[in-house]
């Protein structure tokens, strides 16, 4: 057997928690060679990041404990090394970048200092380190690198921050780069750029790249081999394209099946008659900044309209302005013929129950100090005309069943549920008011793919059952493709394109829509390979 650059053998890690001992990973084995990209694919709680933390000696012990296994770096077992030896490897031979670079960069030091520190820590003289830091900033494509050296992390955009992290990680020319969800919070076009940069740098240095992700699209785009993890165990491993086209394990099949954007697009439905909501030239200014610049569209009864766009496109402001969480600066929004924008608070109260909202992060949109019963029944405390108090309990149970939760859980508190379950509670709360229109602000973006599919199916079922309309705000195009009737593409506060799902996905007119579609990643490695060729040909990513 040949010696691998990095090899993890039979690694098991457990954590002591409130619920007893949790086996985070069990008997995990994989290896990584020079110049290769290995992806560890898994959903939250699958233990996909644990082996990386073990490699970097980032597991806090206690509560964590490595119960068995070896981690071989060029054949030497890292778990038998002293703390000081491990420290010398970190950054110098194995470097790591993380999701959410803003949190992972120290806010009070300049980026130049932080990049140089990577080198001074491992013995490079300060002057040389600064010089090299400047060269690195240039290499990863930070504009005006000399000025950037003296800036602080909060002065950069999300994509630039991830570039800074990459520059820092590569400062000491490591043999291995571990990237933990490196593009998860980024816009699709930025994600494509960052992945391209990683690939380029890998080609330059010949390093091994270990990529931890939940996104099949990222695997398809960049990985040579993939390790699929579920509940702390490896369920499948192999060549990325083969695993996708011919999955063996049921979990892998389920995961691939749940990936959005592959189903048939909804048939065009003819909806004559009066629109439920007609928005006209709605605008919102914050001082001189125009977040919304006169947006107009309509929603028919029973229709799902998706609003897609990248961060800063104004799509969330649109939702908040419609619900009067922010006062619009101008324009009108007619709901059943009455203008929501100018409506006095008293009349608005009556309408509140007809237009509801599901927020992005259910952890934050559910009051942590209220039980599920209190959360859902509050709707009727506010609008007593809906339901007499005597029937609250039965109705809560009914709603919980409807969204696929056990009615016996009504007395529990939100933190006792998983993310997907919490979003179901939030949906049940919205349904309690028997609304006509539900505004979903990134309602499934924080969820795992398989959960995402379930929640979408739930929303779809509710639409059919109650004839609901949705204004579905998302940044993720494949999700929209499966679910929406019509799509509105927004950029910098304006609608750039509007059409049925078929029109937008099959024949986009605007270059921006095309760029969005081109940058969004398909879970199929072969499709992705074709797109990359097309993209290179079109030169869309020369930035």
């Amino acid at each position: 057997m040949t010696e691998h650059l990095l090899e993890v053998c039979d690694l098991s890690v457990e954590f002591h928690t409130a619920g007893g001992t949790v086996k985070a990973v069990q008997d995990v084995s994989w290896h990584l060679d020079r110049g290769e990209t290995l992806a560890i694919l898994g959903e939250s709680g699958s233990g996909k990041s644990v082996s990386a933390s073990a490699i970097m000696n980032l597991i806090d012990m206690p509560p964590g404990r490595i119960t068995s296994g070896r981690i071989l770096l060029n054949g030497a077992d890292m778990l038998k090394m002293t703390a000081e030896e491990r420290r010398r490897i970190n950054g110098a031979r194995i470097a790591m970048i993380f999701q959410d670079p803003l949190a992972h960069l120290n806010p009070v030091y300049t980026v130049g200092w932080q990049i140089a520190e990577m080198m001074t820590t491992h013995g490079t003289p300060a002057a040389e380190a600064r010089e090299r830091a400047l060269a690195l900033l240039k290499r990863v494509g930070i504009p005006e690198p000399a000025e950037a050296m003296a800036k602080y992390p909060h002065q950069f955009s999300g994509g630039q921050r991830q570039r800074l992290m990459i520059a820092m990680a590569l400062a000491f020319k490591p043999d291995i780069l571990i990237a933990d969800e490196p593009t998860t919070a980024l816009d699709v076009t930025v994600q494509a750029q960052v992945l391209a940069l990683l690939e380029e740098l890998q080609a330059e240095t010949g390093m091994g790249l270990l990529l931890i992700t939940h996104d099949l699209g990222v695997v398809a785009e960049i990985a040579d081999r993939v390790v699929v993890m579920n509940s702390g165990r490896i369920v499948e491993t192999g060549n990325a394209a083969e695993v996708y086209s011919n999955p063996q394990h049921p979990y892998t099949k389920k995961l691939i099946g749940a990936a959005p954007g592959k189903g048939a697009m909804p048939a065009e439905r003819d909806r004559g008659g009066e629109p439920l909501l007609r928005v006209e030239r709605l605008s919102k200014h914050y001082g001189a900044f125009h977040a919304l610049k006169g947006v107009s569209f309509t929603i028919m009864p029973g229709e799902t309209v998706a609003v897609v766009g990248e961060s800063g496109s104004g799509k969330s402001t649109l939702a908040r302005a419609l619900l009067r969480l922010e006062e619009p600066s101008g324009g009108q929004a007619f709901y059943k013929g009455r203008d929501l924008v100018t409506m006095p608070p008293k009349d608005l109260f009556g309408l509140r129950r007809e237009i509801q909202m599901v927020f992005q992060d259910p952890t934050q949109s559910l009051n942590p100090r209220m039980s599920v019963y209190q959360l859902i029944s509050e709707a009727w405390a506010i609008h007593p005309e809906i339901l007499p108090r005597a029937r609250w309990r039965a109705r809560v149970a009914e709603l919980l069943t409807k969204v696929g939760l056990d009615p016996g859980m009504a007395q529990r508190y939100p933190h006792q549920f998983s993310g997907g379950q919490r979003q179901r509670i939030a949906i049940a709360r919205a349904l309690a008011l028997e609304p006509r229109l539900i505004v979903c602000d990134e309602a499934v973006s924080a969820l795992d793919v398989s959960i995402q599919a379930q929640v979408i199916a739930l929303l779809e079922g509710l639409r059919r059952e109650f004839g609901l309309s949705y204004l579905f705000i998302a940044h993720d195009l494949p999700v929209v493709r499966d679910f929406a009737d019509r799509v509105i593409v927004m950029k910098e506060g304006e609608i750039v394109e509007e059409g049925t799902v078929r029109q937008i996905f099959n024949a986009p007119h605007e270059p921006y829509t095309r760029a969005l579609l081109a940058a969004s990643l398909d879970p199929d490695p072969e499709v992705q390979a074709r797109r990359r060729e097309a993209r290179l040909a079109e030169g869309l990513l020369t930035a």
Partner: protein, 304 residues
């Protein structure tokens, strides 16, 4: 920055004006100094003369107007008891208190930061538990009790240290130590809490992944972030001492501004009280500016 200082100054000036007005009238409600300074059997004439000299015969509003007019030319009036300009008396006392505050707070800050950071590094470890327990005891201790117990032990029984006065450096040991205990306990807890949060933050994880050593992780990456909430508490505690460490100053016979304020109220020496309030308010205003400046220096995200 200038605009910010200006705004701050205006806000402080407004509350100071309110304070001076309140103290001016309230303090005069406590009684007539004449009764205190002249013997009980003093003649009516002598009393009248005393009142005339000290301007106590005019209606209160006139007295107040005169006080404000004098204030405009920085005349704070005379101390009745000491027959000297009130401001001189106050500044003498303030100098002592300022020294006391500086020495104590420097020691407290240094000790609390080092011990608190180390305790936060190994939460639940033996060092952490000892430090936490002692900081809790410190924060709970009544300073007057600590002071008299310390006098009994160190000054009376062991005879190591003088009981009161200001002559030598040895005179400073007991007051500073007693004053040290409570702020130390409070600040240590804040440092520990803040550093626990900081040391489990994402950027500290990055630093570990970079291979940074433990000491720079705590004191370079951690401390500068962890200091932000601590500074506020340091400011509050320092303000407490600047406003007069009355108890400690009284027990150790330390001629600071706190003792002066209380004595002057009891002696109905109103001009001294007012001058003392204004001086310590100014000192606290300047200190708060320093704190804000420290914030901006520590955290580049803060701009005024």
């Amino acid at each position: 920055m200038k605009k910010f200082i200006g705004k701050r100054a205006v806000a402080s000036a407004i509350s100071l004006v309110g304070l001076v007005i309140m103290v001016f009238f309230l303090s005069r409600l406590t009684g007539d100094p004449t009764d205190l300074y002249l013997p009980v059997d003093a003649s009516l004439q002598a009393r009248e003369q005393f009142r005339e000299i000290n301007g106590l015969n005019d209606p209160l509003m006139v007295q107040f107007g005169r006080y404000v007019a004098d204030l405009a030319v920085l005349d704070f009036g005379n101390s009745i008891r000491r027959s000297r300009p009130a401001i001189d008396v106050v500044l003498e006392g303030f100098a002592w208190t300022l020294w006391l505050a500086c020495v104590t707070m420097l020691l407290v800050t240094f000790a609390a930061i080092v011990i608190g950071s180390l305790a936060a590094f190994r939460v639940g470890g033996i060092f952490d538990r000892i430090a936490t327990f002692f900081s809790l005891v410190g924060a709970s201790a009544p300073d007057f009790w600590i002071a008299i117990v310390a006098i009994v032990v160190f000054a009376v029984n062991l005879r190591w240290l003088p009981t009161s006065g200001t002559g030598t450096i040895w005179h400073w040991v007991l007051p500073v130590s007693v004053l040290f205990i409570r702020p130390f306990g409070l600040i240590l807890q804040v440092v520990r809490g803040s550093m626990i949060g900081v040391l489990s933050s994402a950027y500290v994880k990055t630093a570990r992944a970079k291979g940074v050593r433990n000491r720079p992780i705590i004191f370079v990456h951690g401390l500068r972030n962890g200091m932000l909430p601590v500074i506020t508490v340091i400011g509050d505690q320092a303000a407490g001492i600047l406003n007069g460490a009355v108890i400690v100053e009284t027990i150790f016979g330390f001629p600071g501004i706190g003792k002066l304020m209380i004595d002057s109220i009891l002696q109905r020496d109103f001009n001294v009280v007012l001058a003392a309030i204004m001086v310590s308010a100014l000192a606290i205003f300047l200190m708060n500016l320093l704190i804000d400046l420290a914030y901006a220096l520590l955290d580049p995200r803060i701009r005024y």
